[in-house]
Amino acid sequence: MADDIRLMKGNEAIGEAAIRAGCVAYFGYPITPQNELTAYMAANMFPKGRTFIQAESETSAINMVYGAAATGARAMTSSSSPGISLKQEGISYLCGADLPAVIVNVARSGPGLGGISPSQGDYFQSTRGGGHGDYYTIVLAPKSVQESADLTYEAFALSDKYRIPVLVLADGLIGQMMEGVKLPAPIDPASLPKKAWAAGRQAEEGRAPNHVSSMNLVPEELEALNIARFKHYETVKKELCRYEEVQVEDADIVLVAYGTSARVSLGALQAARAMGVKVGLFRPITLWPFPYDRLNALAKRGKRFLAVEMSMGQMVEDVRLATNGQAPVDFYGRCGGMVPSEEEVLAEVQRLLAR
């Protein structure tokens, strides 16, 4: 194997990818199972002359992100589920002010303080905005250490392009496991284009001050802003939907799963195929925008679906929205920090096909 492939934990790979993407400001507060990410940034941002602050709370960290992003900096925070809940007010403000930022959730089990084991119970929170008001964030769901690095790296570019915060939704297993990873090329932050809307430097640049805010007390104006933002979301939906398919064409049943669940489902698929059972896999990579259209097309072709999640059933609701009653949709999940095994998923497939 080439020497440029490194063995890294998911958490560390996310940190290194963010630095290589030109993240100049990281604000965080420790929480398991994402601590290696905060530690990686603490060790590696200063030597590059960039900003690292361990804030006094998650709320503080996300508001520091708001401040840095308002000045045009590539800014980032990370946490795990309970900490991400605390950041929701700030995420809503970022969306209301159309600010780019990257937020990483290395999710753990809930609700409440829950446990520190991996979970996908934050799907609703991630894909429905999460905080108050009408808004969405782009949500990217990596399945491996390599994809954690690739998607985090790309998250900064997507966020700048669309002026929408990007949430990278991993889980404790992806954060903690080690795999080989080939890291993307470093970007010099100074080489990035200036953001014409960013606050500050008006004297230097001889222009009127830019005003970055999510507040508007005139209902007619605020409604117009929200409508314009949702029109923009339609563009994002058209351009960004991303998914991976494995042996879907001839499948009698299609597993729908993201992140760690998709890895488990792939194993179940391989075992099923070895027994002559035609199983396919549909893996959403963007959870928002969710690939409704492709799933709808598959439903029209008579496919049936089994959503596999590490939750009590959240993404399955999007599968049902996508298929709109045109195909049977079943659910199999484990929660509380339990990860389904390949054998369990295979047994559920066999049970459904025999019914």
């Binding site: 194997m1 297993l173 795999e179 760690t260 890895r263």
Partner: protein, 177 residues
């Protein structure tokens, strides 16, 4: 080729280092790898376990639920080995600390007195590397032919004096199978 290994022992035995070294070496041999640890909050004495997979193709689930090979470094780890070993799998037992073999008549059970061998070489702390040599010999999944180079990058130069002892541990582990 895919080799799923489950490694179990107690904290302080070097289970995590064993798993990491195994996948480092596998990567150098061009294989795809995943390593997922599970351990207690204690610094020493709690459980220490790892799901470790090496393959020449894309790896699906990183969790080992049916292991082709199991490493049992302590008596406490025998029940998990009995449960997780795939039919006809290999169970490598550290016979220095495990006095009752796993009750799996279908499995190939290999007894390696890791602690005794390690002490004979010079340090009980390299018992994990003795076991890695045995795992390589028993499964053939990772040849460990880049082991010395991996050690050189793993240890800071000040600790390169420890390398010959580690090489001897792996060689002795191989011979014990």
């Amino acid at each position: 080729m895919i080799e799923k290994t489950y490694m179990a022992g107690f904290g302080g035995q070097g289970i995590i280092s064993l798993g990491q070294m195994w996948v480092y070496c596998a990567m150098k041999e061009g294989l795809q790898v995943t390593f997922f640890p599970a351990y207690g909050a204690e610094k020493r004495g709690g459980i220490a376990r790892a799901s470790v997979i090496v393959s020449d193709a894309e790896i699906a689930s990183p969790l080992v639920t049916k292991a082709h090979s199991v490493i049992v470094m302590s008596q406490d780890s025998v029940p998990i080995a009995e449960e997780i070993c795939a039919p006809g799998g290999v169970i490598l037992v550290n016979s220095s600390l495990v006095k009752a073999d796993p009750a799996r008549p279908d499995a190939r059970i290999i007894r390696v007195p890791c602690n005794e061998i390690a002490e004979r070489i010079g340090d009980v702390r390299i018992a994990n590397m003795v076991m890695m040599g045995a795992l390589s010999q028993a499964t053939g999944a990772v040849k460990l032919d880049h082991f010395e180079a991996v050690l050189k990058s793993f240890f800071p130069p000040a600790k390169h004096g420890l390398i010959p002892m580690n090489l001897a541990a792996v060689a002795a582990g191989r011979k014990a199978v």
